[in-house]
């Protein structure tokens, strides 16, 4: 799992740096476009991912100690809180697209939709993995802690990437 995580971090890292280089070439356009985003939804989504990651980290510890009932409850909380992210993303995206701010609008919006879209795919995949982790806690006769740990690392990476995306797209000037 770690080789996959490191590969993903490297790929996103290249995108982040490329974004910064392009931003420097036309900072006026990027600054103007950035004002049409919804930082309020961005900050809520950041807290959503951090909270889901916290539940998952606690759940992993509980699973390691053999407290499978606690682990199940904590992982279920992770999934419920984490599922708010794609819902809020739609609440953010749909009005923007209806207002004409589509990926074809300019380079900022192209980067914004491609990078946050790619990240959203990771979130959706993470939710599916958490579903399998919950199933494994419920039905497996012997707990596969390696699987729980690997799934948790993936979800924390999704959280980690969003922290950078949030700063790059919503906050920096």
């Amino acid at each position: 799992m770690w080789f996959f995580i490191l590969g993903d971090l490297l790929i996103f890292g290249v995108y982040f740096v490329a974004y910064m280089i392009y931003r420097g070439q036309d900072s006026a356009l990027f600054l103007e476009s950035q004002q049409h985003l919804s930082p309020g939804i961005g900050v809520i989504n950041t807290v959503v991912l951090l909270t889901s990651s916290w539940c998952l980290a606690l759940g992993t510890e509980a699973a390691r100690r053999g407290k499978t009932d606690d682990a199940y409850r904590l992982l279920a909380s992770t999934a419920v809180i984490g599922a708010l992210f794609p819902i809020l993303k739609m609440v953010e995206w749909v009005p923007k697209i209806l207002a004409g701010y589509t990926p074809g609008e300019n380079l900022f919006f192209m980067y914004y939709y491609v990078m946050t879209g790619l990240h959203l795919c990771h979130v959706l995949m993470g939710l599916v993995i958490i579903g399998f982790m919950l199933r494994s806690l419920k039905v497996s006769p012997s707990l596969d802690i390696k699987f729980i740990e690997a799934g948790a690392i993936y979800w924390h990476m999704v959280d980690l990437l969003w922290l950078v995306l949030f700063a790059l797209f919503y906050l920096m000037r």
Binding site: M20, V43, S53, E61, I153, L160, M172
Partner: protein, 92 residues
């Protein structure tokens, strides 16, 4: 479940959430005040790097990981931060 609130991970989560709200407060603004700002950019990127470090260290448990993994993850974060700050200052 109450014992989980006394877990150090809860303190880490609280700190992460607090910095997130603080960085959002620093980065907010509209209209004429929305200008290029090295101070705001450096502040929010450094805060994001601190948060990323805590997620790697505590949630991903890299603090207990082998040296090669520590070097890879912390190295990725440090290199990314340096490149982002450099390309913010040096524009082509």
């Amino acid at each position: 479940m109450l014992q989980y609130l006394r877990n150090p991970l809860t303190a880490v989560w609280f700190f992460l959430t607090t910095i997130t709200i603080l960085s959002w407060w620093i980065g907010r603004g509209q209209g004429a005040e929305y200008q290029l700002s090295t101070l705001i950019t450096f502040s929010v990127l450094l805060m994001a790097a601190v948060k990323a470090f805590l997620v790697i260290d505590w949630f991903m448990e890299v603090r207990h990981a082998p040296r090669w993994l520590k070097r890879s993850t912390y190295g990725w974060l440090l290199l990314l931060l340096l490149l982002l700050l450099t390309f913010y200052l040096v524009r082509f």
